[in-house]
Amino acid sequence: MRSRALAFMLALAGAIVLSGCGEKEQVVVYKQGKYQGKPDSKPWDATAFGGDKAKWEASIRARNQNQNEYKRM
């Protein structure tokens, strides 16, 4: 019986150890105005964009191309 208990404990310990190898969730979650518990608003929620994410993304994309002089010359 002892060996079974031992095997169980080993298995449990193994499982705990293995769980440490698991990758932490990298996807950012935005919940109730908070990122990982810290409050912040999203850039497209600012007055200039009024929550229109597509408009904000278009602005950023256009702006990004200003860093590429091959677009103009």
């Binding site: 932490k24 990298q26 950012v28 935005y30 990122y35 990982q36 518990g37 810290k38 409050p39 912040d40 608003s41 999203k42 850039p43 929620d45 600012a46 007055t47 200039a48 964009f49 904000w56 993304e57 602005s59 950023i60 994309r61 702006r63 990004n64 191309q65 200003n66 860093q67 590429n68 002089e69 091959y70």
Partner: protein, 210 residues
């Protein structure tokens, strides 16, 4: 979309420090605080290359991982920010950061009670976007204005690129193709050594026996 990143093209960076003063100007960064700096290797000899460095906004940010009060957070656009109201200024993030990004101002608003300060990718902090409080603690929030970081936008040779990583890689790839080489100070060869020379190109060693 969008994973915000910086990339600095060392073939183009001329160590003009435009990025540094653009940052100072944009956020009124106090004397002694360098959210961004230019690093030069082989200064004054052939092989001299410079690179502008700031917070790299890591995906798995070590600063965030080690912070004892958990003041860091990562936004949907991939920007690593922190809450100065939670920060205790312990400097553990400074140990963890491979790039020397965290700064510890002695005084002035950024240094409020010894809080850590760093590059925000011009995205401010937890306070309301473009509010006075946000500007006072973190500097200006350009992302909320639909703009990109001032350092990258003003770079004299467009060496420092900042924005959506997808777009940056397109811009950078075009240059690499045009000139037939990358940045030479970083990349595969630097990390893993130069590829083996072809035997034909090696000078034949005389008198050597196999």
């Amino acid at each position: 979309m969008a994973r915000m990143k910086f990339i600095c093209d060392a073939e183009r960076c001329i160590e003009c420090n435009g990025c540094v003063t653009a940052c100072k100007n944009e956020h009124e960064v106090p004397w002694g605080v360098n959210r961004r700096r230019v690093v030069t290797i082989n200064d004054g000899v052939p092989g001299e290359r410079s690179m502008s460095v700031a917070c790299m906004h890591c995906s798995d940010a070590p600063c965030q991982a080690v912070c004892p009060v958990d003041c860091f957070y990562k936004t949907e656009e991939g920007v690593v920010l922190h809450d100065k109201d939670l920060c205790i200024g312990c400097g553990y993030c400074f140990y963890a950061c491979p790039f020397g990004a965290p700064q510890f101002p002695q005084s002035g608003a950024f240094g409020l009670r010894g809080k850590m300060d760093k590059c925000t990718f011009c995205a401010g902090g937890p306070e309301a976007d473009n509010s006075e409080d946000e500007f006072r603690k973190y500097g200006r929030n350009r992302l909320a204005e639909g703009k990109l970081p001032a350092c990258a936008e003003m770079c004299s040779t467009k060496a420092l690129l900042g924005g959506d990583a997808d777009v940056l890689s397109d811009i950078y790839r075009e240059r690499v193709l045009k000139r037939g080489k990358g940045a030479e100070i970083w990349g595969w060869a630097t990390a893993y050594g130069k590829p083996e020379q072809k035997p034909a190109e090696q000078p034949a060693k005389t008198g050597e026996k196999s």
